[in-house]
């Protein structure tokens, strides 16, 4: 079961992973993701996980609220 929000999230995650492939050897641009020993990549992964979990929790919360109204 894929909701539209779920699809958006999937697209966002795929786009994030593109930053992993974008590194040509020898030429590493210094941006938010690659500075500080590429720690930014880890932060991006953790934030994506968190956002996904929160969206899941919020959708559960809404579903239960709808059931409670019935």
């Amino acid at each position: 079961m894929f909701t539209s929000r779920g699809c958006l999230l999937l697209v966002f995650m795929v786009m994030l992973s593109a930053t992993l492939f974008a590194q040509a050897p020898g030429a590493e641009p210094e941006n938010m993701f690659t500075s500080n020993g590429k720690l930014g990549v880890v932060i991006a992964v953790v934030v994506t996980l968190l956002v996904g979990l929160f969206l899941y929790l919020i959708s559960l919360d809404r579903k239960i609220s709808r059931l409670e109204k019935k």
């Binding site: 880890v42 932060i43 953790v46 934030v47 968190l50 956002v51 929790l57 559960l60 919360d61 239960i64």
Partner: protein, 220 residues
């Protein structure tokens, strides 16, 4: 929406923890081999803070059940204990990962590790006991009594014994601090992430518990 402000707070605090928690400068005092792993303070330690909060809420509801015999309190006590066990297990496993790289062994029989494991097993027993009874009222009543007993076993296992004997954790016999934290290598910058992390992770568990409680109340 007014009732949901704390869920928004939970999201904001956890996003802050999981970004600034990696970026905040951490001290690297000589003789302390923790290095960057001290950042686990924002992830591993909040599991225990959360567990203690959930078990406390659980035991309060168990006492309320015994006073008023309203099944609502039993549902609350059970679900908060369940989230507490989940957080406790996550705390144990994250601690084992940390210990593997810091102390050389995932399980070194440290007094704090053993105490925490016993505490979690006590609550396993709570669910085994409840599950073994058929009658719902008996389940609730005996469960509530056991919950009070289990909660008062938490005191020696995670608050008293780790302070009385030598431990690899901070706060053991002859070392400073409490079982979760050594004040000597904690800076104010780290505290600015630590406290939001404690509150954020705890709110996340409260959120999950309330969802489970609402489902249970619906099906009851």
């Amino acid at each position: 929406m007014q009732k949901n402000w704390w869920k928004v707070l939970c999201i904001i605090l956890l996003l802050y923890t999981c970004t600034y928690g990696f970026l905040v400068p951490v001290p690297d005092p000589p003789g302390v081999p923790l290095k960057q792993t001290i950042r686990n303070l924002f992830f591993h330690v909040p599991m225990w803070i959360g567990m203690m909060v959930f078990f406390s809420i659980s035991v309060i509801n168990s006492i309320q059940y015994l006073r008023y015999l309203n099944p609502k309190y039993d549902i609350r006590a059970t679900e908060f204990a369940r989230t507490g066990v989940v957080f406790g297990l996550l705390g144990l496993f994250t601690g084992m990962i940390w210990a593997h790289f810091q102390w050389g062994k995932a399980w070194s029989g440290d007094v704090k590790q053993n105490g925490a494991a016993i505490a979690v097993l006590m609550y396993f027993a709570y669910f085994v006991l409840k599950g073994s009874l058929q009658d719902e009222e008996k389940q609730a009543r005996i469960g509530a009594v056991f919950n009070v007993f289990a909660f008062f076993m938490l005191f020696p296992t995670i608050w008293i014994l780790p302070r009385l004997s030598e431990s690899l954790h901070p706060g053991g016999m002859g070392s400073e601090g409490n079982p979760g934290l050594n004040p000597k290598d904690t800076t104010n910058a780290m505290r600015s992430v630590m406290y939001p992390a404690f509150i954020g992770w705890t709110l996340l568990g409260v959120w999950i518990s309330t969802l489970r409680i609402r489902i249970k109340l619906l099906s009851a």
